[in-house]
């Protein structure tokens, strides 16, 4: 039905002068169950649907969207998208999109149990049990557990003849524990999510997971903050993905490259990292986010960004690919039907090497072992090439051995320096994604995956705590 009405909308747009039109229908069902200190705080469930329409008229691009997807409403939105394009036709940059072969395909995340079919009682009881398990006596002042899922359909149809239907299911559980010990308060947050059905929730021991988070929060209250300075660090697999995402991922996004903002602009073929570093962006990786096609109907390819330290390519939408004369890598992603696609990472990770954690720690004299569990996230200024992130509770390394726990570890580095300083890469690769988190860019949030093995970096700036 969508396809038929889309055909009529495309015809209508052509009559109004459009040389290109795409329509993205989206329909998402989702729930988040929140339990705080043993009480169900909220059970939020919802359904969102709508359509976004993108068009090119006289070289200018216009976009419109509506939560009303009735054919008459969308016809009005086509008119609006055309009006938007025309409004800026005089002062807009002419738009050209890299060629993609029209595709007709339908793909879905492999899942067994649709979360929609799971009784609500069961969802509440899993979150409730995990929540109570995390309340370790008087030291835990707050335990907040969230169980969430979504089931989404995205249908992309274009005037070029593409029709791509992607069905995604994602589930996850998160735990926040706040501990108060001898007047010192600290919090640790962690979550586990996967693009799978409810079988992922049923197959895991969430009580052990939430208890671990609480134990870490209690320990962290007793930890001190490291003194400010430059340290040699070993990064754990949970954190290396975040480092990579901020330190390099954003700078390799095609839109920041074509505007010349990124410090990586013009460096294809140059050495940008240690020879131990190979970085890949892939839409389908174990543990990561599932993205077979992007929101421009382009197939997501396995894109090698850095190979043995040499910059090989960037992440592209159709527009940025066209500007650099390369094919789209399938990285044109939109938060939802209300947002136009922009260049985003999918699963961005470091390929594994050959060292063990012990070997890496062994020859660090005075450094830090920085860890991802409880990490806050990060941010980068791509133009300046400066990035920052916050690690979870971490450990000192003294004379080749792991030492005491430290907290409040904020880290900063330079995009063109940090990966040059990689001294060793570990054996085991792991990639993670998150239902609850995501990456923000231009006001849009995208779910991404990231990861890598243990990695040793020669120098990073560590901010001292208070």
């Amino acid at each position: 039905m969508q396809y038929d009405s889309a055909g009529r909308l495309i015809e209508y747009a052509t009559r109004l002068g459009a040389s290109y039109l795409d329509i993205r229908y989206q329909d998402v069902a989702s729930e988040v169950v929140t339990v705080e200190n043993g009480v169900l705080k909220s059970f939020e469930s919802g359904r969102t649907s709508g359509a976004g329409i993108r068009t090119i008229v006289n070289g200018a691009m216009g976009f419109s969207s509506d939560t009303d997807t009735a054919p008459s409403a969308l016809r009005e939105k086509v008119r609006w998208a055309v009006k938007m394009a025309k409004a800026s036709a005089m002062s807009a940059e002419p738009k050209h999109l890299a060629t993609v072969n029209p595709v007709k395909d339908s793909v879905r995340t492999p899942f067994k149990i649709d979360p929609e079919d799971v009784p609500n009682e069961e969802k509440v009881s899993i979150a409730m049990d995990a929540n109570k398990e995390a309340m370790l006596g008087g030291e835990i002042r707050n335990s907040t557990s969230r169980l969430g899922w979504f089931h989404e359909h995205r249908h992309f149809i274009s005037s070029e003849g593409s029709s791509v239907d992607v069905e995604t299911v994602m589930v996850g559980l998160s735990q926040l524990s706040v501990a108060l010990v001898e007047g010192r308060m600290e919090r640790v947050y962690d979550g586990e999510s996967l693009c799978k059905g409810f079988e992922f929730i049923e197959g895991r021991d969430w009580n052990a997971f939430s208890r671990d988070v609480s134990e870490m929060a209690v320990k962290a209250t007793k930890a001190s903050t490291p003194s400010a300075g430059v340290y040699e660090v070993v990064v754990d697999p949970e954190l290396i993905g975040l480092v990579l995402h901020e330190a390099f991922g954003h700078a390799s996004e095609g839109d920041l490259v074509t505007t010349k903002e990124s410090v990586l602009e013009g460096r294809i073929g140059q050495r940008v990292a240690s020879p131990l570093v190979t970085i890949v962006d892939d839409g389908n990786v174990d543990g990561g986010y599932f993205l077979p096609y992007d929101d421009e109907g382009a197939k997501k390819t396995r894109q090698v960004v850095v190979e043995e330290g040499i910059l090989k390519g960037f992440l592209h939408s159709r527009e940025t690919a066209q500007k650099l004369g390369v094919p789209s890598s399938g990285n044109g992603r939109a938060q939802d039907f209300e947002s136009p696609p922009i260049v985003r990472q999918t699963n961005y990770f470091l390929e594994s090497g050959d060292q063990t954690l012990e070997e890496m720690v062994e020859d660090v004299k005075d450094g830090l072992y920085i860890c991802g569990r409880g990490a806050g996230g990060g941010q980068v200024d791509v133009g300046l090439g400066t990035f920052t992130f916050r690690a979870g509770p971490s450990y000192t390394i003294k004379n080749g051995r792991l030492g005491e726990l430290v907290r409040g570890v904020s880290i900063s580095g330079a995009v063109l320096q940090t990966l040059m300083d990689v001294e060793a890469v570990g054996k085991n690769l792991s990639v993670r994604t998150s239902f609850f988190g995501g990456c923000g860019k231009s006001g849009q949030r995208a779910r991404v995956g990231h990861g890598g093995p243990h990695t040793k970096i020669r120098r990073m700036i560590i901010g001292g705590g208070g």
């Binding site: 200190n37 009480v39 169900l40 909220s42 059970f43 939020e44 469930s45 919802g46 969102t48 649907s49 709508g50 200018a60 691009m61 216009g62 976009f63 419109s64 509506d66 939560t67 609006w80 938007m84 394009a85 409004a87 800026s88 002062s91 807009a92 940059e93 609500n120 009682e121 509440v124 002042r141 707050n142 907040t144 706040v178 600290e186 919090r187 400010a228 430059v230 920041l256 505007t259 903002e261 410090v263 209300e338 996230g377 980068v380 200024d381 133009g383 300046l384 400066t386 920052t388 916050r390 409040g408 904020s410 900063s412 231009s442 700036i461 560590i462 901010g463 001292g464 705590g465 208070g466």
Partner: protein, 449 residues
């Protein structure tokens, strides 16, 4: 509005009651937004329309929420059935009392700009084009990058089983402007942001000039060595620090839930006597100013820290009932989520000093204009850190070298107790938080690889 939102809300409540809910509340939002994104030319012009209905159904002390982006009559019954079925399986909340039974609305000023409500894409495209020209005209080495200008109009209607039926409308205009300067292979970048309720409040020209001027000035920025210095924080950046440190912890739900460092400390001296913090719910043209909050309670001015003394928390109806006080009018939500208490317009009381005095009074320090990662700071332990992206060294009261790539860090709780020794008079907002520029006498700077 073509659709009478209050009528839809009342109908949803009636349907939920007919299907067996003891109480019900419908929250409806409808908004339309125009946006132009641009760099050295216009990139994309867009128009979006979003609606949504969030329905809370109550059975005894059990509450369920279901939301749908459709507000069409045919979809209401399905929403009500889902909300009720969730309420049915929910465990009873012993603290649940009822949906709001008292409500009211107060007049507000300058929160709705007719010009924005009736605007066309041409006005935005024209303003964006002029801004591009101003930046480029300032100096040929500077171009705008990743900039957006948008306007939105939002209508909200709320109805519940106890007779609540209110609606309000508001407008917002937001300009986010980036500028990039290139000189001898070196790059300087700067950003300016503005979020206001009225079109006339946006000073396009001043923002364009400020960002172009600073982008040129920071092309040579570098880290300074690790050490301790005084730090002057620009107003809108410090507003973001205040947001991170207070907005989620001065709320009654975080206090009652045991996740606030301010729990059990009312009446305690938590800051120096020059530090006062307010939530000014009826501020003229305030970004968070509304006739009533998201549960239909009127907003007001609330003193949170009175000359250093912690004096109040922010409440919605549920948390107020729990402590036997009245809602402070701080309930906030989107249609898909349940309300929680949040600041409306959080304001740090300005001081007497001109902003330039803060710099002039500083022998050696760092003036931080832009930073990243300040939002990663920890409001529970007070660990504050931010990575400077646009800063200047202060030497003998003068701004000298541009600085970037250093982490400034300190403990926010110590900063409150005298660490912040100068507060300027230049109040400015970032989102719903308003702050003057401040000086912190001593902070750690980590830098210099």
């Amino acid at each position: 509005m073509m659709v009478d939102l209050v009528e839809v809300a009342e109908r949803a409540v009636a349907v939920a009651e007919r299907l067996g809910a003891d109480e019900a509340e419908a929250y409806i939002s409808s908004s339309s937004r125009l946006q132009v994104s641009f760099d050295e030319r216009i990139d994309l012009t867009s128009a979006t329309v979003t609606t949504g209905l969030g329905l809370r159904a109550v059975l005894g002390k059990k509450v369920g929420l279901h939301a749908n982006s459709s507000i069409k009559t045919k979809d209401i019954e399905g929403v009500a059935r889902s909300a009720i079925s969730i309420a049915r399986v929910s465990p009873s909340d012993p603290d649940w009392f009822s949906l709001p039974t008292s409500f009211g609305s107060l007049p507000v000023e300058k929160t709705f700009d007719k010009r924005i409500a009736e605007t066309s894409p041409d006005l935005l495209v024209e303003a964006a084009s002029q801004t591009i020209d101003t930046v480029r005209g300032y100096d040929p080495r500077v171009t705008p990058i990743r900039s957006t200008l948008n306007t939105s109009v939002t209508h909200i209607a709320i109805a519940d089983s106890h007779g609540l039926a209110l609606e309000r409308s508001g407008t917002v205009v937001s300009l986010s402007l980036g500028a990039m300067a290139e000189e001898a292979g070196k790059k300087g970048l700067s950003n300016e942001h503005s979020l206001t309720r009225n079109w006339e409040e946006v000073d396009f020209k001043a923002m364009a000039v400020a960002s172009a001027e600073r982008a040129l000035r920071v092309t040579d920025a570098k880290p300074i060595p690790t050490g301790e210095v005084s730090v002057v924080w620009r107003n809108d950046l410090f507003a973001r620090v205040l947001d991170t440190m207070f907005s989620r912890t001065l709320t009654a739900d975080s206090v009652q839930g045991g996740r606030s460092p301010w729990a059990g400390r009312l009446g305690e001296e938590v800051a120096s006597d020059s530090f006062s913090l307010f939530d000014e719910g009826l501020r003229v043209a305030g970004v968070g100013t509304r006739e009533f909050d998201d549960e239909g309670s009127p907003q007001k001015t609330l003193t949170l820290i009175d000359r250093g003394v912690l004096s109040n928390y922010l409440y919605d109806c549920y948390t107020a009932r729990k402590y036997r006080v009245s809602s402070t009018g701080n309930a906030r939500r989107g249609y898909q989520t349940a309300p929680t208490p949040q600041p409306n317009n959080l304001i740090l009381q300005p001081g007497d000093a001109e902003q330039e005095e803060l710099i002039r009074e500083t022998k050696r320090g760092l003036y931080v204009v832009e930073a990243i990662g300040e939002w990663l700071s920890n409001p529970i332990s007070g660990d504050l850190s931010a990575t400077v992206t646009n800063g200047f060294l202060i030497e003998k009261g003068e701004l000298t070298e541009p600085v970037k790539g250093v982490i400034v860090a300190g403990n926010f709780f110590d900063m409150l107790k005298g660490g912040i020794d100068l507060i300027a008079n230049d109040l400015r907002n970032s989102g719903r938080v308003y702050s003057p520029s401040v000086r912190v006498l001593r902070m750690t700077v980590a830098g210099g690889l």
